[in-house]
Symmetry: C2
Subunit: 199 residues, 2 copies
């Protein structure tokens, strides 16, 4: 398997750790993953606390994706109503072999129709809001993350790191995943059913 | 206690999660912490995988700090030899009530003379290199993080998140710290002696 391109979809008000947890883990394996940050313009995109991150590609000239990652954050509240963006995302993500989200990013996937007929999860505090999106999505409340065919969705924020570790394990085996998490001195939760935050 | 200003020292080649783990946790408490990103210029600063982050303040016109945080990353290898930077850091950090580092950021603190006579820890893979810096630093290999008076240093990358949770606990109590970590669906290691990465 060659290097896989991971397209991270940035938007105003994304949650920092939703992006940089997965990205820092994937960045430990630069021979396996190439990460791109897609934004609406060639300008830095502001996270929910305001800190801005540079983009590598504009959405209207995006690289071919192998993996699409949609983070969560307060900005998802407006993104789920942005029809042109959702149409773009539905088309773009359909070209990827894996479609993933962290936290309330699954509301965006659902709003784009990308979770219809799939099992999925999301942030537990925003769960009731998230689950109003999409048609016939089988929303799982008690889960650190949910894998259903090529859709991987995680619970809130830090859960994205565990999902990413599992994704690396799935693609490249446990040894490679452990190499990356050890590099970050990171203890990973390997059980997708572990979820003390579901209450 | 009023809002505390946290000055994060950015430099070329910082490790993403060293910054955004602590920052995302502190950002859950915007009434308690105001976070600033200090860079050498008014231009985005590149992380070790390349992704750039905007700064809020230049080092030559910095805000008064309550807490200084120095992340690690490959860029520390050159920073520990940058005498003008180290002199600036020694002066600037001495104005803060708490001086903290994540990962190999403690090599930078040590090189600036800020850990002389203190106990400290660092990244476990880089430990032998880190501990060549500073004079009479009592380096602790087996520790998730080390607190010694107003110097708090953590082990590699993800350990910075646990140290930050402990710092919030120390400053504002367990309930506030749990509010922040629950918001991120984050399981924190509360024991500074927990360190499976020390081998």
């Amino acid at each position: 398997m060659g290097k896989q391109r991971v397209s991270v979809i940035l938007f105003d008000g994304f949650q920092l750790l939703d992006v940089f947890g997965p990205v820092d883990l994937l960045s430990c394996l630069p021979d396996l993953f190439e990460i791109r940050f897609l934004g609406p313009e060639n300008a830095p995109v502001a996270s929910s606390p305001g800190f801005a991150v540079s983009v590598t590609d504009r959405r209207d000239a995006p690289p071919d994706p192998d993996i699409v990652l949609v983070p969560g954050g307060l900005g998802t509240r407006t993104l789920v109503q942005d029809e042109p963006f959702l149409a773009w995302l539905a088309d773009y993500a359909s070209r990827a072999s894996l479609i993933t989200s962290v936290c309330t990013g699954s509301a965006v996937l659902a709003a784009a129709g990308l979770l219809d007929g799939y099992r999925a999860t999301s942030n537990k505090r925003a769960f009731d809001w998230v689950t109003t999106h999409g048609k016939s999505v089988d929303w799982i409340r008690q889960a650190r993350w949910v894998e259903d065919r090529n859709r991987w969705t995680s619970s809130g924020v830090a859960a994205g790191i565990d999902m990413t570790a599992a994704l690396i394990r799935h693609l490249h085996g446990a040894e490679v995943a452990k190499k990356a998490s050890d590099f970050l001195e990171l203890e990973v939760h390997p059980d997708p059913a572990w979820d003390p935050f579901a209450r």
